[in-house]
């Protein structure tokens, strides 16, 4: 079975690892913000049982430098480019989407509405999507947080606001203390919890959203094996994003494709919607059930 495999935003830099980038069906950039951000001071990461915490703080050069000097180099890789954008107001999202709308090299814009490491915009997720929608005709994927009582409600809201797809899920806030000092392991205290421990939470979110809206879904959260991909696909995801697994296995996408080719138990995927830029053929939901 073949399902598009992307990286999860912020978990991979295509420019430093072009071979790895070409092993992906699309490259998702680290979240870009209107202005350059230096990010949080170290320590920014800490491993915990079953996963890791991060508080990178959206370090990025800002949209100007991104468009002028990074995007052109990404384009040379010849991999579809998804640009993740983040901001602190509806205007921020609108401004960046407008900038990217003109860039033919950008195939999808992912709206990071859910970074646990930065202050939240005053507007609701739906309002941010509305602003972004008005600024571009490119496919818009809304990336949601699992930290909500009823994610289906959020999914319906961003769908109504004009989102073309969903990216599920972002990290959830977590904290770990040093056993010696009982001080937080991260400079910022709490950070985003990712990795295998996030998997059951991600599956519940994908399931809830797939039932709630008819949008294509990029599923992510602890994906590490072909079996994890089958789980997401059978719940309604049309593609998957690899995050934390790329830190231990840069070639995970290739490995997982191999695992998916090996005949396993046939599964019946939930009715899926093709991810933008991928024909249903290239993301053959049916192949899953027929294998």
């Amino acid at each position: 079975m073949s399902v598009p495999i992307l990286n999860a935003s912020g978990c991979f830099d295509a420019l430093v690892a072009p071979d790895v980038a070409r092993s992906l069906d699309a490259f998702v950039t680290k979240t870009v913000t209107p202005l350059p951000r230096e990010g949080n001071p170290p320590p920014r990461i800490a491993e915990v049982d079953g996963g890791m915490l991060n508080s990178i703080g959206l370090q990025n050069p800002g949209i100007d430098v991104f468009v002028s000097s990074i995007l052109p180099r990404l384009a040379e890789l010849d991999v579809p480019i998804w640009v993740s954008v983040g901001g602190f107001s509806a205007d921020d999202y609108a401004e960046m989407c407008e900038r990217l709308d003109a860039e033919t090299r950008v195939s999808v814009i992912e709206l990071n509405l859910s970074c646990p490491n930065v202050e939240e915009a005053p507007e609701t997720a739906a309002e941010l999507v509305t602003a972004a929608r008005a600024a571009t005709t490119k496919p818009l994927y809304a990336k949601l947080s699992p930290a909500t009582w009823d994610i289906a409600e959020n999914a319906r809201a961003v769908a109504a606001a004009g989102a073309d797809g969903l990216s599920l899920v972002n990290t959830i806030r977590g904290l770990a203390l040093d056993a010696g000092t009982r001080r937080p392991k991260l400079s910022r205290g709490a950070g985003g919890y990712s990795g295998p421990a996030l998997r059951p939470i991600a599956l519940a979110c994908v399931d809830a959203c797939a039932r709630a809206v008819a949008l294509p879904i990029v599923g992510m959260g602890g994906v590490a094996s072909g079996g994890d991909v089958l789980d997401l696909v059978s719940l309604g995801a049309g593609a998957v994003g690899l995050g934390t697994i790329l830190f231990s296995d840069p070639l995970a996408a290739t490995r997982i494709r191999t695992e998916l080719r090996s005949p396993g138990a046939p599964i019946t995927p939930a009715p899926r919607h093709a991810i933008h830029g991928f024909t249903p053929e290239s993301a053959p939901a049916l192949a899953v059930s027929t294998e």
């Binding site: 491993e47 990178i56 370090q59 191999t258």
Partner: protein
């Protein structure tokens, strides 16, 4: 396929990833010398590091190459937490994924090399010494037991706290290549501005993917894994 040796371009250099078997895992003082079959991996330049799979942990752990015996790669591991303890507990025959070599190693084009290391900072020194024809070396340790690892660097001058390695630096130390705890590296930088220093930070990926390992350089946070870990401070 993960058992195959995979080659990939990382930060402009070739690195390889392969599942490697443990040949020997022997304690030296409080440390463990973890020897792995080399497989298709290159040892790289002294000061470069490898990401070692730590069984049962989510993230691999960065380790400097300590020795490059024929057909093997040897790492000196200090058990300070779950990952390094898992590595120290590996039995011969066990297999772990290894990625490398990674990062920038030491610049070997030096006239009068002097190796300086503190604690586990000795790790990259044996390999570095062999590349430089066993230059003079100064090693500092916190305990006598730690000092036992000095056997890996015959002829090195060894000091145990309270006396610090920096107190043993000659007035004209020449080309210092150092690795050790941050306070030691800071002290050396003050004494020897043009020294080559190998820094540490927590790393998730080791190849520029996560932005977790940053250190501040000229007012911006740069990724130690691909811009370091070795820096000649005043170039």
């Amino acid at each position: 396929m993960t058992d195959a040796c995979n080659s990939l371009l990382l930060a402009g250099r070739e690195a390889r990833r392969q599942l490697l078997a443990v040949t020997v895992n022997e304690p030296i003082g409080p440390y463990t010398l973890l020897r792995l079959e080399r497989g298709g991996l290159e040892p790289g330049v002294p000061g470069q590091f490898f990401m070692l799979e730590a069984p049962g942990r989510t993230l691999p752990r960065p380790m400097s190459l300590c020795q490059a015996p024929r057909g093997e790669l040897a790492f000196l591991v200090e058990p300070i937490g779950p990952g390094t303890r898992a590595l120290c507990a590996l039995e011969p025959g066990a297999e772990i994924h290894v990625l490398g070599p990674l990062g920038n190693g030491f610049d070997l084009d030096v006239a009068r090399p002097l190796l300086v290391a503190g604690g586990i900072g000795i790790a990259p020194m044996p390999y570095l010494a062999s590349a430089l024809g066993n230059p003079p070396a100064i090693l500092g340790f916190r305990t006598e037991r730690q000092a036992e690892v000095g056997v890996l660097l015959p002829g090195a001058e060894i000091t145990v706290e309270p006396r610090l390695v920096t107190e043993l630096l000659p007035d004209d130390p020449g080309d210092v290549l150092a690795c050790g705890p941050e306070p030691m590296l800071e002290a050396i930088r003050r004494r020897v501005p043009h020294a080559q220093l190998a820094w540490e930070s927590r790393m998730a990926c080791g190849y520029g993917a996560c932005f977790g390992c940053v250190v501040e350089r000229d007012g911006w946070f740069v990724r130690l894994c691909i811009e370091g870990p070795v820096w000649r401070e005043a170039a």
